[in-house]
């Protein structure tokens, strides 16, 4: 019974059931999350047909190594996020269950239109969840941009249907080489922009600031790591294995991605609020991941994506706790907050340093892979930009960490020279969970060979030809 369709169907069933059994809603959510996380580890690669009609006629779910990594990662992250903030779930359990179904559907489906449907489920759940914030007029912005994105995506896939006569991803991919760049220009760009809304690419990421910066301890990590991670996995699947297109289009999309990356990192540098720093850094990292996918460096992209979503999960959870306990997340008024909460601080610091690319953490390994990958592909422009941005990134992360660890500040007089009063940020249970997740970041970086084996299972991701580079390999090559 390790049919991947159950990953989608069981949460849906539980969502429908919790309308009937109102009181059990929260527990059904927990059951659904535990079931999905457990099942995700037993899924094997292969194709699952739905309804008994083989593709391209029917809808199928495709599990390859890439999707498998995504399914395990995203389901586990969602479980952790919700367990940490289980007290905030309240009446939103049905929405979260449906979002769980939608996310798994997005990751698994092998059909372009089915992807649209599941994307809508996830996005509508996200609209509802984002309205939990006090300033929910940002939700309207999100809803408007999101709807435009889905309209454009829909237009894109219907143009592809007109050109290829099919909606199945594998079938479309097989028929694309027969088409010219001219014919593909509009549909591919429309799909790119449509997915770009969720991936947070630059021209269409106007909603991110309002929504993320007002989200609470539950919603912020859910958006930044679970939903954003899913969107990036879907992006990778679409633009590496389904719509690998000609040079002109690639260049155009690459420019947009890199612009997002540069803009995101610089904007993060200028922010004062912890959540704003994190959200702009998410935008930047999303731009980098999409740039890697478009350049064909799948393995590097996946490692960066994994390291980024895990870091963001910890950091957004703690940033949410700042707003909850201190009613602000301006880091200048939070000086020394981690001195009161050492273990929380350690988890946050590990996550942040991994993002900055300090050796021994998984983020370093991710960055190294990217650079080696580009150098081997004889590409020197992008590594230069990435290195430059790494300095910017490092600068704001160090600034942020110093502010949060250093007790007190000149001119700010308060009890025992601490700028903030002593409050427990996270409960003991949540601190332990955060520390365990932080341990994964360290382990993933130290035990690189195991990480690589877990992620790729010895096979190239998405049938991509670009090799994966471990440190041992690159040493051997020198």
């Amino acid at each position: 019974m390790n049919n991947p369709v159950l990953l989608i169907v069981i949460p849906l069933l539980l969502a429908f059931l919790s309308v009937i059994i109102k009181k059990a809603g929260k527990w059904l959510l927990l059951v659904g999350l535990l079931f999905n996380t457990a099942l995700a580890f037993f899924i094997t690669t292969g194709e699952t047909i739905i309804g008994g009609f083989a593709p391209p006629y029917g809808i199928n779910l495709v599990v390859d190594q890439f999707t498998l990594v995504g399914v395990i990662l995203i389901n586990t992250l969602m479980l952790i996020t919700i367990v940490v903030s289980f007290d905030l779930v309240g009446k939103y359990s049905i929405v979260l269950l449906t979002a769980l179904a939608g996310i798994n559907g997005m990751l698994l489906t092998g059909d372009l239109f089915n992807l649209f449907v599941f994307m809508e489920i996830t996005v509508i759940a996200a609209y509802i969840l984002s309205a939990q914030a006090k300033k929910y007029h940002h939700t309207i912005t999100y809803l408007v941009i999101g709807s435009v994105g889905s309209v454009l995506y829909l237009l894109g896939i219907i143009l592809l249907y007109n050109l290829t006569g099919s909606l199945n991803m594998a079938d479309v991919a097989a028929k694309l080489p027969l088409l010219t760049t001219k014919e593909l220009l509009v549909p591919v760009l429309l799909i790119f922009i449509g997915i770009g809304v969720e991936v947070k690419l630059m021209p269409v990421s106007g909603w991110v600031k309002g929504v993320y910066s007002n989200a609470n301890r539950l919603i912020a990590p859910l958006f930044a790591s679970v939903i954003a991670g899913t969107a990036l996995f879907v992006f990778g699947k679409l633009f590496v294995s389904v719509l690998p297109v000609s040079d002109t289009l690639t260049l155009l999309m690459l420019i947009m991605s890199v612009m997002t990356f540069v803009f995101g990192e610089f904007a993060a540098f200028n922010q004062k609020r912890v959540k704003n720093i994190l959200l702009y850094s998410s935008i930047g990292q999303a731009g980098l991941v999409t740039a890697l996918f478009i350049s064909g460096l799948v393995y590097a992209a996946v490692i960066l994506l994994i390291s980024n979503v895990i870091s963001k999960l910890i950091m957004f959870t703690i940033a949410g706790a700042f707003t909850e306990k201190y009613e602000t997340d301006d880091y200048e008024s939070l000086n020394g907050v981690f001195v009161h909460n050492k273990f929380t601080g350690i988890a946050f610091t590990i996550a942040a340093l991994s993002m900055a690319g300090i050796p021994l953490l998984i983020g370093f390994y991710a960055k190294l892979n990217i650079l080696i990958g580009f150098f081997q592909a004889q590409n020197y422009v992008l590594p230069a930009i990435i290195l430059l941005m790494a300095i910017v990134e490092g600068a704001y992360i160090i600034k942020l960490l110093l502010a949060l660890w250093a007790p007190g500040k000149e001119g700010q007089v308060s009890e025992k020279s601490f700028a903030v009063e002593k409050k427990q940020l996270l409960s003991v249970k949540n601190t332990i969970i955060c520390l365990i997740v932080a341990l994964v970041i360290i382990a993933g970086g130290v035990l690189i060979d195991i990480t690589e084996k877990v992620v790729t299972d010895g096979q190239p991701l998405l049938g991509d030809q670009s090799p994966s580079f471990t440190i041992s390999q690159s040493k051997g090559g020198e």
Binding site: Y127, S147, V148, V151, L154, I158
Partner: protein
């Protein structure tokens, strides 16, 4: 021709979105965009002199010249999703109006102590 018209509807919706900050008008604009795309989808399946893809006692063989049934099935899904988004958007709009007393996003944004 209908394809051009439907794409123009899309553009009219886009103009609406860019030119107004009124929540209700924005939701109407989104609806116009969706309508444009929906008409476009149906027009993709159009076949000259085609008949509706339903077997009846008059059109009793599947070898008849049917129009493409798949876009019609897709458009149903698209319409229902549009309906869901509209219902939700209007609910947000009502909530906003109750809180701020206006539908104008520019004014609401200015009211906030960000």
């Amino acid at each position: 021709m209908i394809r051009v018209a439907s794409l123009l509807l899309l553009m009219i919706g886009l103009y609406g979105l860019l030119s107004t900050r009124n929540v209700i008008k924005m939701i109407i604009s989104i609806n116009i965009m969706e309508l444009g795309v929906n008409i476009f989808i149906v027009s993709i399946g159009f076949v000259t002199n085609g008949v509706a893809p339903i077997l009846t006692s008059q059109v009793n063989s599947s070898l008849s010249n049917f129009v493409d049934p798949l876009p019609q099935a897709l458009v149903l899904t698209s319409i229902v999703i549009g309906l869901g988004i509209t219902a939700l958007g209007l609910a947000f709009a009502r909530k906003l109006y109750k809180k701020y007393g206006t539908y104008d996003l520019a004014k609401i944004g200015g009211m906030k102590d960000e």
